[in-house]
Amino acid sequence: MRIGLVNVTKAFGANRVLDGVSFEAEFGHTLALVGPSGGGKSTLLRLLAGLDRPDSGGIFVDGSELPKSEESLRLYRRKIGIVFQAYNLFPHLSARDNVMLPLLQVHGLSKTAAADRAEEVLLRFQLSAHADKQPGLLSGGQRQRVAIARALAINPKFLLLDEPTSALDPEMTAEVLDVIAELRESGRPIILVTHEMGFARKSADLVAFVADGGICECRPAEEFFGNPASPATRKFLEKILKY
């Protein structure tokens, strides 16, 4: 998968979170975005997801530029899977109905086809026993797995995950990271924002460091952690690996 940013700027008021960023990355399976809190990881991911538009500049995914109008962006979003940190699911719908909603309303599957597909993905993530529960009755880890199942059910071209485990306790984090690692086998590309450095090191092909209005460094995981090039990255890694 290939992504490219050309002179992308995104500001919130006076806060220029991405300031004229140009960047290109090609990776086989997983790109991890890491960096300090408030550095702009989520902002970048939302741009790639077509949820927000840059103030200026162009964003390219696999060679084609993302459209500008909300209507075409919606068509773009239909083909990708997006999972946020928390509250992905619709609380009034059961796990099954959460998975079925986009299949029925966005992708035009018949009721039986959608139900079969939902059954299939829920089974894959060991969630069949919880299919009829509403999110309020699921654990945090189960909720995130349902969210990933929902994103995968539509056969997305790739997945965008924004800190999918940061709201979870260690045990649940492991259970969700297992699922993400397992996705590697399916060959669907993933762009992942994460604070789990161990996980990024083990399962990401490329790691990009997002801070100070741009992408300071983007290199293969081993090099990134073994021998960080930019001082900003080094300082960040020192700080978080201290404990």
């Binding site: 949820l51 997006i82 946020f84 992905n88 009034h92 909603l101």
Partner: protein, 256 residues
Amino acid sequence: MEFLFDRAEKPAPLWAKGATVCALLAVYSALCIWVFSISMMKWEKVWEYRVVFLNGWMTTVGISAAALVLSTLFGLAAALARRSPFLPLKYTAVFYVETVRGLPLMFLVLFGFYGVANILGWNDRMAVGVLVLSLFSGAYIAEVIRAGIESVGRSQWDSARAIGLTLAQTYRFVILPQVLKQTLPPLAGQFSSLIKDSSLLYIVGISELTFSAQQVNSATYSTFEAYLPLGVCYLLLTLPLSLWTKSLEARVRYET
């Protein structure tokens, strides 16, 4: 006498509650019978007019039911319009909601009938009555629904956009179902107000319940006997609604 107190740390026993209700019923009915007996009761005369009461009651039920549906539509439309980015639509909704909520129903009834409907030559009193009542109640319902929509978090909108729902689909499948669950108790309260407020339509001569009681009163020269059934008839409609609201509130509380 400790059993007559219901405190959080020491709830009253069930038998004490039952006994209290029975005792109070006995005391209050004795009081009522005493009042009845000192006034000249003309129940037979009022009974002759029972059809008038029944017709009035049916009219009130009909007007309330129609206004209930229409005011929900007005409220929903105004709440959505108020969130619209299109300024003329948004400001129309703001203007409607804020003026109507700032005016007494009495004014709206008088102005609606004599100021507007008369001039337009619209003589269907029932229709005008339902419309005025719906416009009035719709403004309050709009605020209830708007508060409900605003209480749905930003993450729900994001998730809906992320899976590719259109704006209309987002409202239909994600936002409004959650709003409905949250706003049912206040909405039921508003519907109860609507039933009671329909009594004001008697001033423009719609023969609903209050108007009927008035007629019976002037025909029989009885007051107590004409107005007591009036109150009972309203309670017959509003009490079940209130009980239903209470059970809804309890249910919503347990689910979240």
